[in-house]
Symmetry: C2
DNA sequence: TCATATTGAGTTGATATCAACTTAATTACA
DNA sequence: TGTAATTAAGTTGATATCAACTCAATATGA
C-alpha cells in the first residue's frame, strides 16, 4: 500500500457510520430477506406483495403511476409484471382513452393469494415493530418517507 | 371483482402507510439511484463504493466477513467481486492459515478511484443531510442500524 | 393539417439479489 | 487416525435493478 493514496481509517469509519445510503441498503436487504421468507409459503416476494396490494385501490393504475408509487424504475416494473401476469395474478389492458397507457388490475386469484398472505404480513410486521420497540417504528416511517419523497422520479 | 375476496381499502392503506419493508425498499431505490448517478463519472455504483471503502480497514476481510458487514448474501458478494476483480480494483488471495478463506484487498488503483469519488460522496451526503434537516438523519441512522442488526445473518 | 415535441411503455445489456445445491478445507470425536 | 459434522466459498437459476435506447400514441404550434 502506497502512502500517497492511503485512506485514513477515520474516513473509512465516517462512511461506515454516517452513510445513509449504505445504512438503507443494509436494512433493505435484511427486511427483504425476512419478508421474502415469510411469504415463501405463498410463492410471493415482499415486492410482489406490495405491488399486488397497491392494485387494490379504487382506480386501475398505469405502469408509470405504479412505478412512481413504488419509487421504482418503470422498466423494472415491466419485468416484475411479466412474471405476475404469467401466473395470472395480475392482468393489464390498454386504456382506450389514451392508448399509450396500460391499466393494471389484480385478478381474483391474485386477490385470494394476497388475502391468504395478509395474516402473515400482520404477524411478521407486529413482531418487527415489537423488536424495534418504542418510537423507533414511527420515527423510521417518518424518515423513510422523507427519503423516498426526496426523489422518487427515476 | 367478487365481494367474497375483496380487500378493504382500509387494509390497503394500512400496508401502504405502515409497512416498514415497503418503506425501506422505496427509500433504498431512491438513494441507490441518487448515489449511483453521483458516482457515475467514476464508473462506480453506490454498492461498489461501500464495498471498496470497507476494504480500507487494518485487516483483510474474508468474503463471509464482508458479506455480514454489508448484510448481503455471500453469493451476491461473490458476483459483485467478480466485476471489481476484472477491473483490477480489488484482488483476493487464499488465506494460507485456513485455505477455505479468501482474503480481499483493495488495489492501489481501487484506492485512487475511491479517493477521487470521496469528495462527491461528501457533498452528496451533506446535501442529503440538509434536505432531511434537524434530527432526522440521526434518527434514521439509529433506526436503520436496529433494523440491520435485527437479522444480518443471511 | 402536418411536422415536431412530449409522453407512456418496452427492449437490451449489465449488475444485484438470494435460494438451493455443490465442493473443498477444517474440526470434532469416536 | 479416520470418519462425520461443520464451515467457507462457489455455481445455477430466477427475479430485481436501472441506464440507454427504441417505438408508438398523443399533444402542440405553425
Amino acid at each position: 500500500m502506497t502512502l500517497s493514496n492511503h485512506i485514513p481509517l477515520e474516513t473509512v469509519h465516517e462512511v461506515r457510520d454516517t452513510c445513509l445510503c449504505l445504512a438503507v441498503q443494509r436494512a433493505a436487504r435484511v427486511l427483504a430477506r425476512r419478508f421474502d421468507r415469510a411469504f415463501q409459503p405463498f410463492g410471493l416476494t415482499n415486492g410482489q406483495f406490495s405491488l399486488m396490494m397497491a392494485l387494490n385501490g379504487p382506480r386501475s393504475p398505469t405502469v408509470g403511476q405504479l412505478a412512481i408509487f413504488l419509487a421504482m424504475d418503470r422498466t423494472t416494473l415491466t419485468a416484475a409484471l411479466k412474471s405476475l401476469e404469467r401466473r395470472s395474478l395480475v392482468t393489464s389492458e390498454t386504456d382506450e382513452k389514451d392508448r399509450r397507457n396500460r391499466r393494471l388490475q389484480i385478478t381474483d386469484a391474485g386477490r385470494a393469494l394476497l388475502l391468504a398472505a395478509l395474516p402473515v404480513w400482520r404477524s411478521e410486521h407486529a413482531a418487527l415493530d415489537a423488536e424495534l420497540g418504542g418510537d423507533r417504528p414511527d420515527q423510521l416511517r417518518t424518515g423513510l418517507r422523507a427519503l423516498a419523497e426526496g426523489g422518487n422520479a427515476p
